[in-house]
Amino acid sequence: MSCSAEGVAAALREAAEVVAEHRSELVELDRVIGDADHGENLSRGFTAMVAVLETEVPPTPAAVLKLAATTLISKVGGAAGPLYGTAFLRASAKLGDAAELDPPLLIEALRAALEGVQARGKAVGGDATMVDALIPALSAAEGAAGGSVAEVLAAAAEGADRGAESTVDLVPRKGRASYLGERAVGHMDPGARSTALLLHAFAEAAR
């Protein structure tokens, strides 16, 4: 695929489909440790984003991501709105006016997204949050820096999978799950899971 603005828009449409397919799964994960709205909220945000992209695809990858960010921030509600919104916004800021995404830019954008999520949510690795998916995703992406955009994204998605798995054994220290403490051990963090799903969707779109 091309990694132009149109390619990024296509990746976001793919992500919207994946979120819709996994809506119930995310709701179930969140029912155990949160308020069961993660799947619902994300689905609402991505549906709105696709509707906006139907009327107009902005001219650069950065502008597409910025539009995605503002839609998510406004429509998702819950913690996922400001967190994913910040991730897309910070990634967008890294891309400048580049017309095409290449592997080094993509990795920088991923790093900016991780840093943004950490700053917004004040979470670190091991807190059982989406940060636990993003950290291994970034390091796997860095490991695949010599490959194509699709290969970098595929590596990131696999890294995120491992990270999401790791949250099963962690005691949550952020968000509503933290109120459960030890009782939340044995459950995957819904935010880490959705992060992995999004990266898989982007990788699929880039193939």
């Binding site: 921030i73 406004s74 509600g77 819950g78 913690a79 709105g81 967190l83 919104g85 910040t86 917004r120």
Partner: protein, 226 residues
């Protein structure tokens, strides 16, 4: 002009009720509730609503935002970052109800944005009893009053008292029995629980101590305007 206040809550009712409560003690302060989702009125925090509320609350002296739980803080911080001038607003890490009341009274007294934010944040801390003990030896002037108004030193009269003292150069405390409270803090005054018929002792230290006692005499005599 005063510093504005925005109350970010998951619940529209919670934000509106608190705006009403805090507003009663700070009639000139813009206190704007931003609670719930504007689409369907459901529970949640609405970024666009918080941005709009922050703009409405700002009369030129800036805004302090308070929040309830979890994502409300993130939404508030994101909204501040998105302002044309992010330095015009600050998100206070404070208990929502006590913080809103303390911030409102501080803003009504003409405090700047930093001081209003600190008043909110300080509302979560235990009263500093040591400071009051120490000031007991400083001398100053004392006068005893019997409260005749209906609600005693409850929220509104306490706020009236704090506001009245804002312009004076004096440290003022109020004693009820063995307990003493800083008269510049609404929450400390309310924690005394002074009721109608109770006898309080007001002590003022500083160059304007006499003026302070005259002002308090007038307030008690007119039942705090009730």
């Amino acid at each position: 002009m005063t510093v504005g206040i925005v109350l970010v809550s998951h619940s529209a009712k919670l934000a509106e009720g608190l705006a009403e409560l805090a507003g009663q003690m700070a009639p000139d302060v813009r206190i704007v509730p931003a609670g719930g989702l504007s689409d369907d009125g459901g529970l949640g925090t609405d970024y666009d609503e918080v941005v709009a509320a922050t703009q409405r609350a700002d009369s030129g002296d800036g805004v302090v935002l308070l929040y309830d739980l979890g994502s409300a803080q993130m939404t508030a911080e994101l909204a501040v970052e998105s302002l044309a001038d992010p330095s015009a607003a600050v998100v206070a890490d404070a208990p929502l109800v006590e913080g809103a009341v303390a911030a409102a009274v501080a803003a009504q007294s003409g405090a700047n944005r930093k001081a209003v934010g600190e008043a909110a944040a300080g509302a979560g801390l235990a009263p500093d009893l040591a400071a009051v003990e120490a000031s007991a030896d400083d001398g100053g002037e004392e006068k005893a009053f019997t409260l005749t108004n209906d609600v005693g030193l409850h929220a509104r009269p306490a706020a009236v008292l704090v506001r009245s003292l804002a312009g004076f150069e004096a440290d003022v405390s109020v004693r009820l029995g063995a307990r003493e409270a800083d008269a510049h803090s609404v929450l400390a005054l309310m924690s005394l629980g002074a009721r109608q018929g109770d006898r309080i002792v007001v002590r003022a230290c500083g160059p304007q101590a006499a003026e302070v006692l005259a002002r308090v005499t007038e307030l008690v005599g007119t039942n705090f305007g009730e």
